[in-house]
Symmetry: C2
Subunit: 473 residues, 2 copies
């Protein structure tokens, strides 16, 4: 265990050097956050398919529980139950369009993780930074429970629990608990907890802050102890379902799935779930009495319970949908928590967009009409009124708007268009539009994956560290 | 699957070139012997421990079911449920004594398998060839069901089912079904089925041939169909027990084992089994109502059923012991088949040596007294009389002896001493003599192994082949 302890010290020092201007010391948050002996308990695994470039290099790292797909390197890093999906990496020969530039991709893009500590973190890979198209790097970074690093090269950062960095290149930043940042390129910022920030420089700037007194009930993070709150309890209460899927080398798929849909063998499926055509269910998704219509997707770490989704729904990484009825083409963003009750269901109309990190937690029935944009923390219809707008009205914003805790600057139409295009891209990439010939996506390509497991040294000086591993075609 | 088919063609051609002088064509034996789609069904696995050098390189190979431990390379090879244990490889800095030579080992020895097809084959590694101390190679070789390659570098050979090549360097040979060869260095031989041949040049030469009409009942191999006979049926009937242990990623060890003994998690343990101190139970061993006394070992692919072994017993790779009572310090050689009946048990006295590939199959009770050497095929006490001698009498042989189907030339004392030293080495290496401090062996070192699984491409052109895999410390 000695080497692993030294490695953690080294990572803490490196990130503290990066964060020195913010005067931020990560060590009280990080030390003992994961007892290092946990790192011996879980195996990591990587997928092999003919559809994804295979190029894995792991050196001097601890990888407990991690999932790898595609071209990925780790060095001097500790990953713990991290999903790291490289199935949208750019490939040699692609051309990337950015503003007036047409940029040729000269070698296969890879994810490169160095000197970092990622805890229960999803890393997904469709990066947009035109400066670093061949390397999606994560360096000198600590991310905590259920944070998401999504298409975002990142250097010298600390991500609190349930934080998401999305389509952003980020240097030397602290991103607070349950904050969402999609901001192009940022550096040297300390973003407070519960901040939802979507910016396209020169176009628009969306900013919302969750009321901290209420957010703390769902999630809070204090130095010296693990993250706490209802979201942690919710996830912990459902751990057991995953034990079965992780304890078996190969699971017989007893659950009926159409041939053009894909159900990952590391997902949990409880009774009365229905999976329609072109559906993608990713690893660590949790479905219980969930009806998924054609082209819906259930991404990593999402939970869909006692709910019906009519089709072409995006349930993003970490989103939770409970006792709800969703129409078609509804987007539910990262880490959103939507909870109806058995006797007070949540209903969402077609084409609505639930912003990332939205919390809807109701005790009386609530209906969100079609084509609405919804954000923030909502527990009743009054709060819905102050935390939503029709997409049509939002598109009319020209010179900014302040509404409750939300402020918006710039062009509303640009914001709505960007969101809609993104949702279309997600559905397309996930295979929602596959017609039997064209528009194959993850739902069709991720069907037949072999998973190989890897484990660390079980004892001795290197206990908890994995040997050097190189996997190539 | 295309690449895998090409690979098999390539291997067949290479071995046929090697065997051209013997005018031996392996293809009718090999084609369709394992349907290639089987190669996608099983995972291979490798062990990680701090006690064994870790250096694995697999390239352009199919590895279904194989077990790897230590420093092993494969290239252009097809392995199928092969156990390949590199836990006795010589290490850099060792000195190897051979006759008057003291040979320094200049780099860690490794097993190197190239252009070969090994089916359900155990490869074990304590090689004795002074010419190739750093590389234990297996090249241009086909070995079939339950053959053993034991400390034997081998080039251009074909091994029939249940054949064993032990402590022999072998080039361009055919070893027949159920034949055992321990002969130093041989080349360009076609050894017929059922031959037991132990030779130490200039010292002794032991030769026995099983009566083929009787051997065929136990095992026979005809071109164009899989091996047949009672031994195949016996193994097939017990396949199911292994399914459970291979289907789980990690098994809780519910079976009590002393802290100085080792029970591999890929062994099958059925009720009423007892494991004493310093016992080693290797992967794919099968124990059912088996009582193992202190320092006994149960090696790969052995079966011990309804039997009691008093202690310091060697049950070598592939040996089967059913309804028998064995005293102390008894050696049961490779692939031996010892079957008593519930009402007619087999009893073996202390210190006896059951030669490799011995078949004892009785319908009336039979007792082998202490300190006997036993060989060949025995179904009753008359056959025991003609297929055994006291070790004392055997040691007295000076100028050869013919007894039944057995002929012996040279020095009987040398033969018995060599056997006894070998048995002592095996017990020592396996940890039978561990006293809490000194004499650690496999039973103590192989206790805490992490196993990592690897799988092939699930479909496409490379279906059944594994990606290139490099694992280093």
């Amino acid at each position: 265990m000695k080497e692993l302890e030294k490695l953690l010290e080294r990572i803490i020092q490196r990130i503290n050097i990066n964060l020195r201007e913010l005067e931020y010391d990560v060590s009280p948050f990080i030390k003992n956050l994961v007892p290092l002996h946990q790192m011996v308990k879980f195996y990591a695994f990587y997928g092999i398919t003919p559809n994804h470039p295979l190029d894995l290099v792991f050196r001097h790292s601890s990888l407990a529980g991690s999932y790898f797909l595609g071209k990925i390197r780790t060095r001097n890093s500790i990953l713990y139950k991290s999903d790291i999906r490289g199935d949208e990496l750019k490939q040699k020969g692609d051309v990337f369009h950015y503003q007036k530039f047409e940029i040729p991709i000269t070698r296969d893009e890879g994810i490169d993780i160095e000197d970092s500590f990622l805890i229960k973190t999803l890393v997904h890979n469709f990066s947009h930074d035109p400066e670093t198209l061949e390397k999606f790097f994560i360096r000198d970074t600590v991310s905590t429970h259920y944070a998401n690093i999504h298409g975002s090269p990142i250097d010298g950062c600390f991500l609190g629990p349930f934080a998401t960095v999305d389509l952003t290149s980020m240097r030397d930043c602290v991103i607070g608990t349950f904050s969402y940042v999609q901001a192009g390129e940022v550096g040297h910022l300390n973003v407070g907890p519960g901040t939802i920030w979507v910016r396209n420089p020169d176009e628009f700037n969306f900013l919302y802050r969750h009321p901290l007194n209420k957010l703390n009930h769902y999630i809070n993070f204090i130095a010296g102890r693990p993250p706490q709150g209802f979201l942690m309890d919710f996830v912990d209460d459902r751990k057991e379902g995953f034990q079965r899927v992780f304890n078996a080398v190969n699971l017989e798929q007893s659950f009926p799935v159409p041939s053009n849909a894909s159900l990952d063998r590391y997902a949990v499926i409880k009774p009365k779930t229905h999976i329609s055509e072109n559906v993608l269910v990713a690893q660590r998704a949790y479905l219980q009495n969930a009806w998924l219509g054609k082209g819906a997707n259930a991404q990593e770490n999402c939970y869909i319970i006692n709910s019906r989704l009519e089709g072409c729904n995006v349930t993003a990484h970490g989103a939770k949908i409970i006792e709800a009825d969703l129409g078609k083409n509804i987007f539910v963003g990262f880490n959103s928590f939507l909870r109806g009750r058995a006797d007070s269901r949540l209903t969402i109309g077609n084409e609505s967009i639930i912003m990332p990190h939205t919390i809807i937690d109701i005790k009386k029935p609530l209906t969100i009409p079609p084509e609405h944009l919804v954000w923030g923390l909502i527990t009743n219809s009054q709060e819905l009124a102050s935390n939503s707008m029709t997409l049509k009205d939002f598109s009319k914003i020209n010179n900014g708007l302040i509404k409750g805790n939300m402020s918006f600057e710039g062009n509303g139409a640009g914001f709505v268009t960007a969101f809609r295009e993104r949702i279309h891209h997600i559905l397309e990439a996930n295979g929602a539009f596959f017609d039997g010939k064209k528009n194959k996506g993850h739902a069709q390509k991720n069907q037949n994956i072999s998973f190989n497991t890897i484990q660390p040294y079980p004892d001795g000086k290197l206990q908890g560290l994995y040997p050097a591993i190189v996997i190539q075609p």
